[in-house]
Amino acid sequence: MGKIVIAENLSLKYENSEIITPSSFTINSGDFVFLTGVSGSGKTTIIKSLYGEIKPNSGKLMIGEFNLNNISKSKLALLRKHLGIVFQDFKLIPEWNILKNVMLPLLIAGVNKTDAENLAMEYLSRVKLSHKADKFPEELSGGEQQRAAIARATIHNPVMILADEPISGLDEYSASLVMDLFIKANRLGITIVIASHSIPSNFSINFRQLHIEKGKVYELS
């Protein structure tokens, strides 16, 4: 399998302090990766660097053919079109209903509205939210919002999903549903990178664990 992420001696700074000291790691296409570490260890910083929100301080960071060290705005936009991002705080557009939120990546890709609507409805039914398509984010529970966010992150068939603490703050049932959605996406060949302080105890499929400790990234087997 090809490498989708190559980090060589990657150092990352956030607000002028070095959060990740030079570390090297790779992620293969189709991997299911947990990025673990205590709070403030730098999990979010790495996730942000993977979608180009934080630029490498030193070292090299490649996502597919994109070099994130000196990526242009247009190339970054192109890269992001091939990624699915899930946030701890969901980041659904508050003034849009759930259906339109899920349609977002398709609308950006230029898919016509009717096709986008049909596909979004299909994805909403996969995350068991088709009955709430016309609701606004504030009308949904945290678990439901996160499922909608996952539908949005997967609808455009991305090569990789980056999820930052996606089950933090969710009840056990919602967390289990959300993890199932990631597993299903991974079975379709999508690379999954989840930043989480711990790995669910009943997690059943093969995965890799990249652990951050004192700013260094280690692979745990």
């Binding site: 929100e53 936009a77 079109k81 991002i85 980041k91 557009i93 849009w96 990546p105 950006i108």
Partner: protein, 260 residues
Amino acid sequence: MSSLKSHLTLILALISILFSIFLFKTFSQILEKYKQNIIDNYSIVIVSTSTLSKPDIDNLGELEEIDIKNEIAKLKKKYKNIDFSNITMPHFYKLKLNSLPSPNELINIKNELLNKPFIKKVMTKSSSQTKIYNLLMLLEIISKTFMYLIAVLGFLLIVKQLEVWKLLHNERMYIMELFGAPFWFRGAALFKIAFIDSLISLIITFGLIYITINSAIFEKVINDLGINFEINYLNDFGILFLISFLISFLSSIIVVIGKK
């Protein structure tokens, strides 16, 4: 409610700017035409010992010789004991100036003409001309200051509106950017608002202009001034149309570019 307020702010700002531009143009046009009226009815009388041509008066305006035959005939009748054949009569000219001079310019023109040896006398209606000129200048200054103030207020409202837009649209644009949305897509909602608001502002401004120029007071003022005021709808409204869209689209582009 807040959305309606934000629409109203931009619409009000645009209306004030557009209407002040219209008033500015209208005042300028009226003043210019009124000045032209004064110039048309205003002339300097020059008495010269020799015939004058344009270069003699430094091309200051149109020169027209005053026919004094009738006046001499009257004088001959009145003073029969005077032998007019021995008197060499001077030439009288009316000088219509190219532009309305300021009182100082008028004094300079007069002195310049009197410096020429063949010009014996220059008669101006300096006192009434000075009053009219000063009044026009005062009107122009007051009206322009007033309109600049309105325009500045309008711009301040737009600056305020930009802050509101940033708060309202920042999050949505940020989320869109995370999914790789291009510039036009991120700004689409703002561009739509900008388009609708400029259209509404234009319609309201046109309504205000229509009411203004068809009001009895406006018509009376124009008639009293004796000028022919007309609006070039295509040109004037076209300019307002462009300005309105330019301001609102520039504002929305600033918000999209300045997104944090």
